[in-house]
Amino acid sequence: MIGEDTALNLGVFAVFAVITLFVLYRVGSRSARASDYFAAGSSFTGPQNGVALSGDFLSAASFLGIAGSIAVNGYDGFLYSVGWVVSWLLGLMIVAERLRNTGRFTLGDVLAFRMRQRPVRAAAANVTLVISLFYMIAQVVGAGGLIALLLDVRTAGGQALVFAVVGAVMVLYVLVGGMKGTTWVQIIKAVLLLLCVTLMTAFVLGKFGFSLSSVLETATTKTPLGPEVLEPGVRYGGSPLAGLDFVSLALALVLGTVSLPHVLTRFYSVPNAREARRSVVWATWTMAAFYLCTLVIGYGALALVGSDAIKNAPGGENSAAPLLAFRIGGVVLLGIVCAVAFAAILAVVAGLTLTASASFAHDVYANVVKRGKADPRSEVRVARLTAVAIGLAAIGGAIAANGQNVAFLVGLAFALAASANLSTIVYSMFWKRFNTNGTLWAIYGGLGSCVLLIAFSPAVSGLKTSVFPDVDFALFPLENPGLVSIPLSFLCGWLGTVLSHEVADPDKQAELEVRSLTGIGSGLR
């Protein structure tokens, strides 16, 4: 049914892609200096940056993943919406203003502020690369599923080709645009995505006489689960251990947001702390509206499309929202929704690639390899090369993870981010004794344990839904490792500090404390 109007779908998408690339080219061609490329010259206002921030955050996971998860797992999928809205409070009250006052381009600026520069910067950059890669794999899986749905590509080889094309377009975005271009794409995309979900929500509600209750009632008749789909426990129920998995995911969602490198760097593209705060306020309102709509779209997809049709479509769960669009608006709305979702993915991937490559170029190349004496032009060139390398790695990972729910995959990236970054950010802001050794233990302890636990979890092996369904080396029972690895990284940070004889630099500590609250010494106004 859907494959027939491929030309129209692709037409709508192509028009959109050309427009955004043109915008990128226009604003991007003037970005010459490193601060322009990495932080858009800190020139955006709070509201602009807030919309871009929600653009960064509203990825394939939020749109395709949550809708699919709610349509198939019902209430348990709704947790993603709640967790991701609530998580912004941490960003608002603890991270945004302090980060803007302290750093310049990357997370490494803040973590290395009062520590020995080279090891901490290298660690921060490594973490950024790993998190970004995981996050990007999820995005490419989402994009692949989308195009597979549009073109009705069902073979593995065809989907691999789709991933390669997505990767190439994404690298092109980053190479041409830099941070300023990416910010404008995020703004355009966030507005379009919001319009799209609002329209779809209004449409679904309208079809059911503006009664959420009757959407839910119809949804229960379209799934083998029946009324259970409205109750907790479809995905994470049945045993106390499954409940723990739910809690673990919830923890990763709420603590991961403000630990994501591409969200953190977004606080640098405003001129001062007040604007950083305003941008989080704007982002929170935008995202609350968006995630409210995902509830209706998820259950609406179930009510109007049905769970069997969703599960059997190319792209699986991730195709719930596009299928709903096709059901209510025919092939034109399907084309538009896919184009917007695709642009959403491209923009997020571009932002991620940019952050990861900036982190590598700024923290590893400029500060570790060249010991702070790198020529800014070569720094930008290294960043661009890194972008290409990351793009290739993400394509490879996406081919392996093909068919997984993207919200679930992103949940893993959130666990990684919260495990590696949250403890170090909190300790270095609020604990005077915290030192270089503690920072390294916390970063590598959290990241290492998280990666290991994911590798030995049921997400990777042992279940039909795993990446490797045929073998079973799942020694760790939880799919999301956050519940273990996040506290572990706090413990590692504490142990690493207490066990080393190194004394934290009191002058730098005073400077960080004063500067993070006031911006004195940062040159910000």
């Binding site: 919406s81 709640v82 109750e231 723990l244 809690v247 705060r277 995630y291 002058d507 004063v514 911006g519």
Partner: protein
């Protein structure tokens, strides 16, 4: 960056006529005009800023995390309760989930307002100690 140290006699706090017998407070910067962070940290102005931040942020963060984790634990381990119907097919779980949205927006608004009224002026007061005043 920081301006030069003010010459003696030109009091920054001059008000009325009684100021000539009061020496002007020195700016908290060193000879090169760099801020003296340790000294700033010990000023009454900075302590007040830290107090104002802490007084709001600490209870707010602990409060919302507790409320969120309660919701999550209830979903995981009190499915019966969360499945109870409130209106039509809408159950307790959905209502509590939507209340998380409401509380998040309320707290966001409250913090933005508090920061504008209580924190920003105090930041300006601390910055004035180094003559890095906001425009």
């Amino acid at each position: 960056m920081a301006k030069a140290i003010l010459p003696p006699g030109e009091s920054r706090r001059a008000r009325g006529f009684a100021t000539f017998d009061e020496p002007p407070p020195p700016l908290l910067v060193d000879g090169a005009g760099r801020p003296d962070f340790a000294a700033i940290r010990d000023t009454a102005e900075f302590r007040e800023l830290r107090r104002r931040t802490r007084v709001f942020v600490l209870p707010a963060v602990l409060g919302f995390l507790t409320w969120y984790l309660t919701y999550v634990l209830a979903s995981a381990y009190a499915a019966e309760f969360m499945s109870g119907k409130v209106v039509g097919e809408i159950n307790v779980g959905v209502v509590l989930g939507l209340l998380q949205f409401v509380s998040t927006l309320a707290l966001t608004t409250a913090y933005a307002r508090y920061a504008r009224r209580q924190i920003d002026p105090q930041v300006a007061a601390v910055r004035a100690l180094t003559a890095q005043e906001r425009p």
